[in-house]
């Protein structure tokens, strides 16, 4: 049978960095292909080549749909050829209605450019029914939960009648019920002959849903397995390229004294003024401890810790949340206050809020610790260079000199620069938000090693992560956020993936 999609020898370079090298895969009509790989393995890049967001002239290799070679010069061309993408990060227009979002860019008209609104609302109601949402199609998207938004994005793609549907971590924002609904929809599409590519870190989902699995690692094709013939361990070994035990290092020390205690913290909703995103969250962090913070996408993990770090927890207008550092209540008004209390926070997106692209490596490293290398406001150049040099050495930073632009570094080394910046401020409480996102396996292992080294030295670490294996392996305890509240706290011994997912979906597990 002619494959619905055949990608052959796709190679993509960014300057000297090879993101994809000679990757091939095929999907047959009526098949769901799992696409697996660590962050940075090249899954997203490969899918960008397919979706037209990387133009055909910018990568080497060939893409054929139903045996016919295609060269997309835009995402629009890919959409016209029947390729639909569903991303982890929902991209809906918050102030447009549900119906408008579903039909955006291809509103049914009655000639003369007039929109056929009855048809729009009829279609939107059908789409909502398909994904099991009972909502008014005229309601704006802003008021919906993240998971409802994700279901609408799915509905939008499905009613366009794609030939090839790509789903990138679609369930990371969904509750268990919604995920089941999605799986039913996908089975339905498969029966109708649609070819699906399903990208996920969750092995149980991949094995339950897919017919075959293709694994990528470091931009290269590793293997394609039939699900029936392969075990989970084999796929994971293919992804990681080494034993998992070697990747994660964490020997749990005895937790010491309390470093940080949050009580009743509220967090404002980012898009709705009348709502709270997180309500009454409490947690405790002790010296030498790594506490994982888990939740579905949109649960407010990053927002909770940011609110504490930048002092915005004090501006919710309701209950007054309290923060205790080393047992004493403190008031944090700004990040500067947090830093003075020896708190550091590595944010999720290093480009947006981690490094300053116009500054060189040294200046990025010393940014949060300038007063340590300055006297009376005057920077001591020698002290600054040696501080940067020490940290770069400690984290094995690979760079063409510390005066080089931070933009010239690979993702993993950029992350090391941002980590160095925070370590330079000599924190006792280190908040790490997705610290290994988009970096290669080698750098990942080094960051894990550093984390346990820091914990052994008596720092307390809060680890926010969407990567279940990472969270399970590194955390001494996991606090789960769901439905705007802390749903439970799990000790290392009792943590399982199922328990965490259940709690995150709002079905309380062990009480906190």
């Amino acid at each position: 049978m002619t494959p619905a999609l055949q990608m052959t020898n796709v190679t993509k370079r960014y300057g000297a960095v090879v993101a994809l090298e000679d990757v091939s895969l095929d999907v047959r009509p009526g098949e769901i292909l799992g696409l697996c790989g660590e962050n940075g393995a090249g899954k997203s890049t490969l899918m960008k080549c397919l979706s037209g967001s990387i133009y055909a002239r910018d990568f080497d290799g060939e893409i054929a749909l139903g045996g016919e070679v295609v060269r997309f010069g835009s995402t629009l061309e890919a959409e016209r050829a029947g390729i639909e993408m569903i991303y982890q990060e929902v991209s809906l227009h918050l102030d447009l209605s549900i119906a408008e979002n579903i039909y955006l860019g291809r509103m049914p008209t009655r000639g003369a450019g007039l929109i056929d609104w009855p048809a729009v609302y009829r279609g939107a109601r059908e789409a909502l029914a398909m994904v099991g949402l009972e909502l008014n199609p005229r309601a704006t998207v802003r008021g919906l939960s993240t998971s409802q938004q994700q279901m609408i994005a799915i509905a939008r793609s499905v009613i366009r009648g794609p030939k090839i549907l790509v789903l990138d971590e679609p369930t990371s924002a969904l509750t268990a019920t919604e995920a089941d609904k999605l799986f039913k929809i996908l089975h339905n599409l498969r029966d109708r002959g649609v070819a699906c590519i399903y990208i996920s870190h969750k092995m149980d989902e991949v094995f339950a849903l897919c017919d075959r699995i293709t694994v990528l690692r470091d931009g290269r094709f590793v293997a394609t397995h039939k699900v029936a013939d392969v075990a989970t361990d084999q796929v994971i070994a293919d992804m990681v390229g080494r034993q998992l035990d070697a990747l994660y290092v964490h020997n749990a020390p005895m937790p010491g004294r309390e470093l940080l205690r949050l009580e009743d913290i509220d967090v404002r909703h980012p898009t709705r003024a009348d709502r709270l995103l997180v309500e009454g969250a409490s947690l405790t962090l002790r010296a030498g401890e790594i506490v994982g913070l888990f939740g579905l996408v949109g649960a407010g993990r990053s927002e909770l810790m940011s609110a504490v770090f930048d002092g915005s927890y004090r501006q919710t207008g309701r209950r007054q949340g309290r923060v205790f550092v080393r047992g004493d209540e403190v008031v944090i008004r700004s990040p500067a206050d947090a830093i003075n209390h020896q708190i550091a926070m590595l944010t999720e997106d290093r480009k947006v809020s981690g490094f300053v692209g116009t500054m060189n490596i040294t200046r990025n490293i010393t940014l949060a610790a300038l007063n340590r290398v300055a006297r009376g406001g005057v920077i001591d150049g020698g002290a600054e260079r040696s501080l940067a040099h020490d940290l770069a050495t400690r984290l094995s930073l690979k760079a063409a000199g510390l005066r080089a632009s931070v933009l010239s570094l690979s993702g993993g080394n950029q992350q090391k620069v941002v980590l160095s910046k925070w370590l330079a401020s000599e924190p006792q409480i280190l908040i790490l938000d997705e610290p290994t996102r988009g970096i290669d396996v080698g750098a990942k292992a080094e960051i894990y090693r550093l984390m346990s080294e820091l914990a052994n030295k008596g720092l307390g670490i809060i680890l926010i992560s969407s990567e279940m294996p990472e969270l399970l392996a590194m955390s001494d305890r996991v606090v789960v956020l769901g439905e705007g509240r802390v749903q439970g706290t799990f000790d290392r011994a009792e943590i399982t993936q199922d328990k965490l997912l259940q709690a995150a979906s709002g079905q309380p597990g062990v009480a906190a």
């Binding site: 300053v356 116009t358 940014l367 150049g381 050495t393 000199g401 401020s425």
Partner: protein
């Protein structure tokens, strides 16, 4: 460790030094300036006479003093359109204090500087606290301050300024007029602060990535307000010096100064998007603008052509610089 070797092995030697000069931010525009001076000097040798060179420096001094502060504003990722009327207000306010209020000159100077800082504080406060775009705030301030000047003066010049006042603009140190000396001293100071203090570093960080800077503990609100206070003070100072130079403060002084200053800073290679720039570049940029105008007078080019030529030169200078940057991979 690979990095350690690399860090120790920064390029050295004559060849490396040469390559660093070629990569220097300010080089492209400096070459254009030198080329311009050489060509005009070949056509009209009087262009490089001492008298004319002093003329050029003195004309450049007033916008330069403001451009120094504007460099901070731009590097910090902000924008200030309001300096022209503050120049007029600086002259008028100090002149009125001295002539009508009998205030001693030093006090009047200090008072006027505080007034300029106050206007900058207001702009900065509106930008930083109420998150109104700097372009809008300072555009409003441009009109408002000019209005205040007209209300104060009813359009009449403020004169005669006493000699203790006019000496600020008319006195000389050796061959150099005081405004030039003041400009040079301020430039050196501003350069050192920008390169070697935490304040300067934080301005770069804020302009390069405000969110990263904020999370690294930089007090964004204060810092934003402070850079606007710098331009306010600098404009007020330039206004006093210019009034002193002409022995009279006029309500239309500083008209168009905001654009001249902004053009000078941009020609000097300071980024409109923040995070990059230098006082040296601004010095070259300001000289460039002044040299062009002066050269056209010396070459007896019709005065009506001046603005057209300036416009072309601005685009050409920045365009050439962009080309060079792309070629050396900056």
């Amino acid at each position: 460790m690979a990095q350690t070797e690399a860090a120790a092995g920064e390029p050295r030697g004559a060849k490396a030094a040469l390559s660093r000069i070629f990569k220097a931010e300010e080089l492209g525009i400096l070459l254009v300036l030198i080329g311009l001076v050489v060509i005009v000097a070949l056509i009209k040798p009087v262009f490089v006479s001492q008298a004319n060179l002093i003329n050029i420096l003195r004309a450049a001094a007033f916008p330069f003093i403001i451009a120094i502060a504007m460099t901070y504003v731009f590097i910090g990722g902000q924008f200030d359109l309001s300096v022209g009327p503050i120049v007029a207000l600086g002259g008028v306010a100090s002149g009125m204090m001295v002539i009508h209020g009998g205030v001693p000159v030093p006090l009047a100077v200090i008072g006027t500087l505080i007034l300029g800082a106050g206007i900058g504080f207001t702009s900065g406060f509106l930008v930083a606290v109420f998150a109104i775009p700097a372009l809008i705030v300072t555009l409003g301030m441009l009109y408002a301050v000019r209005g205040v000047v007209l209300i104060l003066t009813k359009g009449q010049p403020v004169y005669p300024l006493p000699p203790e006042f006019t000496i600020m603009g008319q006195g000389t140190l050796g061959p150099l007029p005081y405004p030039v000396v003041i400009g040079i001293v301020l430039a050196i100071f501003a350069h050192l602060v920008l390169k070697h203090t935490t304040y300067g570093r934080n301005v770069f960080a804020m302009g390069g990535n405000k969110e990263t800077a904020r999370l690294a503990g930089v007090r964004i609100t204060r810092l934003t307000i402070s850079v606007f206070m710098l331009t306010g003070m600098a404009a007020a100072l330039a206004g006093m010096l210019s009034a002193a130079r002409f022995s009279s403060a006029t309500s239309n002084a500083g008209t168009g100064m905001e654009l001249l200053v902004i053009a000078s800073v941009i020609i000097g290679g300071t980024s409109l998007f923040g995070g990059a720039g230098s006082i040296l570049g601004t010095a070259i940029g300001t000289l460039m603008m002044t040299v062009i105008k002066n050269a056209m007078v010396i070459l007896r080019i019709d005065v009506y052509w001046q603005d057209l030529v300036v416009g072309i030169v601005i685009i050409a200078a920045v365009g050439l610089d962009q080309l060079r940057r792309r070629r050396v991979g900056l």
